[in-house]
Subunit: 123 residues, 4 copies
Amino acid sequence: MNMGQTRWAIAEGYIPGDSLNDDPAFVSHETACILNLGNQEANVAIILYFTDREPVGPYRLQVAARRTLHLRFNDLTDPAPVPRDTDFASLITSDVPIIVQHTRLDSRHPNIALLSTVACALG
Amino acid sequence: MNMGQTRWAIAEGYIPGDSLNDDPAFVSHETACILNLGNQEANVAIILYFTDREPVGPYRLQVAARRTLHLRFNDLTDPAPVPRDTDFASLITSDVPIIVQHTRLDSRHPNIALLSTVACALG
Amino acid sequence: MNMGQTRWAIAEGYIPGDSLNDDPAFVSHETACILNLGNQEANVAIILYFTDREPVGPYRLQVAARRTLHLRFNDLTDPAPVPRDTDFASLITSDVPIIVQHTRLDSRHPNIALLSTVACALG
Amino acid sequence: MNMGQTRWAIAEGYIPGDSLNDDPAFVSHETACILNLGNQEANVAIILYFTDREPVGPYRLQVAARRTLHLRFNDLTDPAPVPRDTDFASLITSDVPIIVQHTRLDSRHPNIALLSTVACALG
């Protein structure tokens, strides 16, 4: 039974440096929503790509069996925090099939804006 | 003739707890738009996945032949209402092929924001 | 050379009845952006699906070779205008391969909201 | 290893002529986010399609190995700038596989709106 893919790419990435306020629900954020439909924990690795410097990563994290993780790129710190107001892209790989959807909440201006799209499955 | 798929996943899910007002058209909502192009009623089952608890479901519903149902997750009650302000994901299965698109209207702040993407087809 | 597909579905459809103002650029609208990369005119037929009534259509239109048409569902009149504030979905077929992307501009509240996604290719 | 595709289409394109202000971060823009996961520079060509005139292009650009380029259509000038307030679509080809995501920031009205979707892979 198809449980997703093990390699996903998100070509769009950008964390606005400003936010409406400090309420975590409204801080501008870039999110990779990861769904693990299977019965095994997923070991996930993320590599970040930039316009004019070498890729950074892997960032490593786990998504338990039958769980979803809505990962904010804002929260990544190891090996390095994600720079704000900077274009990036990401490659997300997993040892078991997962599903990835990309969402941004932008609250720089007094009202919020949202975008979302399924990430690009690479197999 | 291809009428869609029988298994779809939406990795992103979040119903904001606040809304602009009580007008149903403007209440913050998370929607799975389901289209049944075929000549047989679709029996649909939805399982919800969370970050830190067991999946909930199935929620069961029908989409008549040659009809569309824009299902608000807000309206699901059996076996349990969908918690607000909580990350979730969903797996949508059907006994006949359907097409699923995911949309959110977020009206927490004085103006609305929208997102939409075709769900991830799993076969 | 792959020029797209001949059958596309958009499960989400909704034309808000209110708008910011009468400027056509800001009237709330639901759009199917159609791209014809080929060297032959595309004869396109659209069927609309609803929640609780029979499908309506076909609406017929042409997209010339090497042209794009950003079709507003608001502008469809024959065989019937598209009801406002009503959920619908659409099936778009063409005699030659095309590419379809779905976009909505919602200007009911003083600021606009946008959504977009590639339509669901059915072959 | 799958690094993406060499032909992508974006059926939706529109650069609003007005913007919130002149801050580049908030100028209304239409973007093709291109990710080159491979070890060879990507030579990319873009053709723009319109409603009622011949296609324009190719616009040529490079995306270095292991880099992302968030290309604003606003910045294209050769062979011709992209007209504002005008519907267009685009075909993006590359000599090596890439990944393309489409995003717009619309800041015509006092608050911004965003849309995004993975482009349509053509092989």
